[in-house]
Symmetry: C2
């Protein structure tokens, strides 16, 4: 007999019919003889509706009171799922975050879990109950209700799995797993049987919302075996675990990409010691997220800096830089929009130094110019023209033999 943690997101519990469906998935696991802990999010749009009520009162509600307000959404879900399971003849009990022993920092709206007291959970599990826990929420040492911020229910599920030493944590979502690339763009995309935690982090923007990076980090730190799978389809999903079998000896395991990228170049920046930090601190203070950064020295005194941003941030970036031109000391700013980032991801790269070169060759053979490059141990990112994005992904997907991947059923 094992212990399984299952997590169902807001879409999966978005209606009474879907809650019935979730109950059936839970029962399948219980019928295999497993102890089951289920983490659920708020129903569909209910969180948005609560936020809307609060913003009718003020645009700046206190975070403590917003946590008080929003945590009711998950509380509704756990009660309804528990009622659904009981109606099907299964012994279930619902627990809020605090009842489940989830202790967090005293930070409202974005708290981190500091400890989970598992006595209550174990007690219910040992009494043969299916335990339904409200995701996204916890409690401070002062007994204030907190929320865990974005991806919170994923984090709740992983943290519970870690604390309970669960055999597995299944993240149920609206896709059947993690793919070699986005199947909406590339027909030959294949579902991966397994990826490592680090690969999952690098692939995070493939199928955004599948699994929150914070939850992946947590799972990595506590070696919690995850599986991303569909709440509607019965097929096996994608396992996320430390030791990944070298599936067909894949060096590259996935191809991530995003459009709407702009490259900004600051020309003739004075070569001061603090130039770089001043620029990027200034941008960060304005909430502008900078991705790839490249510096090229042009003379003894001056340098050029290029970085990529979301195109939606371009106007503010230009305003911020120009208003600080005197302080920063540069000649001019150039920018190029309608770009895209295409990355190959795979932990096999660490022992295969030629992978980046192979990527560049594939792109060159397809007459795609590389505008920027950035590398990490398990990822090579390139910036190309947006109109070549899908062509680049398809070419790389084929070149690294991802379309030959056979998905095994378990």
């Amino acid at each position: 007999m094992g212990l399984i943690v299952q997590k169902f997101g807001g879409t999966s519990v978005g209606s009474i019919e879907r809650i019935q469906n979730v109950a059936n998935r839970v029962i399948q696991e219980a019928q295999r003889g497993n102890q089951v802990v289920v983490v659920v999010s708020a129903m569909g749009k209910s969180t948005d509706e609560l936020v809307n009520l609060a913003t009718q009162l003020t645009n700046t509600p206190s975070k403590r009171e917003m946590d008080m307000l929003l945590t009711t959404g998950e509380q509704v879900s756990i009660a309804l799922l528990s009622i659904a399971l009981q109606a099907k003849g299964y012994d279930a009990v619902s627990l809020t975050g605090w009842q489940a022993g989830i202790k967090t920092e005293a930070i409202h709206g974005n708290a981190r879990i500091v400890e989970i007291e598992t006595d209550t959970l174990h007690s219910y599990l040992n009494n043969g109950k299916i335990v339904i826990v409200a995701g996204f929420q916890g409690i401070t040492s002062e007994f204030n209700i907190t929320t865990l911020g974005r991806g919170g229910s994923d984090t709740t599920a992983v943290a519970l799995a870690a604390a309970l030493r669960a055999d597995k944590c299944d993240i149920y979502t609206d896709v059947t797993g993690v793919f070699t690339t986005d199947p909406r763009y590339v027909k030959s995309a294949r579902k991966l049987q397994s990826v490592s935690y680090d690969e999952m982090l690098e692939l995070a923007n493939l199928g955004a919302g599948v699994l929150h990076p914070r939850a992946v980090e947590f799972a990595k730190n506590y070696a919690v075996p995850l599986e991303v799978r569909s709440s509607l389809e019965l097929e096996t999903g994608t396992r996320i675990e430390e030791e990944v079998s070298m599936e067909n000896n894949l060096i590259v395991r996935g191809i991530a990409f995003e459009d709407g990228v702009t490259r900004v170049t600051i020309v003739g920046l004075k070569n001061g010691l603090h130039s770089l930090s001043t620029i990027f601190t200034t941008l960060a203070n304005h909430g502008i997220n900078v991705d790839i950064i490249i510096q090229s020295m042009t003379s003894q005194d001056e340098t050029n800096i290029s970085f990529s941003i979301h195109t939606t941030d371009l106007d503010e970036t230009l305003t911020v830089l120009q208003s600080n031109q005197e302080k920063l000391g540069f000649h001019s700013i150039q920018s190029e929009s309608s770009l895209a980032k295409v990355s190959i991801v795979g932990s096999g790269m660490i022992s295969n130094p030629g992978v980046a070169a192979e990527m560049f060759e594939v792109l060159a053979n397809n007459e795609i110019q590389v505008k920027m490059v950035s590398t990490s141990e398990i990822k090579v990112s390139t910036v190309v023209e947006e109109r070549f994005m899908v062509k680049a992904v398809e070419a790389l997907h084929e070149a690294f033999k991802l379309d030959e991947l056979v998905t095994h059923s378990v």
Copy 2:
């Protein structure tokens, strides 16, 4: 500086505009230099909506899970009221039932408060905060969330007032106070300045929903001074307290009435020792609420029993009695519907033995036949034909000089 507990029902917090209005009433009290604890119910129809979700899953949801589900309604209200007060520049904090230290029996759906730990409440009040507490809810010693049953938010307010030794507990509602009789039927009805707890209990069915009897009992036991007042009008309401000034030397303080009454008579009941208890235990087991009971001995061996019920319970009453005819041993059952109960209430009756006689004379002078009579120390109830109900109330209201009552403004 005093400590005031204010309670606002679901209608008073039924929309964002109404929550703003409640916030203003709270601020008025705070501006007088008082410490304020506010108890609120769930917004308008939100409880009904939650019940509807659960009943889509099953008609018999577990009471524990219903408590988990329904308590979210008040949690939404407290967060929104706290946000509204903060937006108006006041320091407020919301607390769920358990955060406010409200401990109950381990009975779901209808728990009684056993203790209130006031440390948290005092701590927030001493820090100058307006404390907003979720009505209707508490927690068991096993940390399960409970609800207090019907009238629960009234009880929460009174219990908090008792535990905090508040100077006053104001129950805000959609009427301006307690009236001598129902102003919708009798134009000359007057608002009472004050009534005693016992009188309030006897008058409970006047303006049903003004104040739950359980809360009145609680207030009586702990001598909590109550005031029933309007959440929309600024005028003074009706005080409910032990020592009532003899307002205009009123012997009768109010006239209560209800229609839809049926009298059932069991004819020729065998005069056994357990006949009475068997009948009324059987009816109680079927959830049939019996009001007035009259027994008249007709012979040594047999007796007739009359009792009044709600007309809506008549069919089931007849079915239950007939299916037990052999066990109970009686000749026949008679019933008369389209009756009404009219009662005069006043603690002054205790020292005025002629009041019942005066009531019968008033009714006789108006050619209204009395079908049943029941008396208590502070109430005389009569059952009359439904078509004479309003006429009887008007005649009694005038005879006992309730229409001459002058309502003083404070």
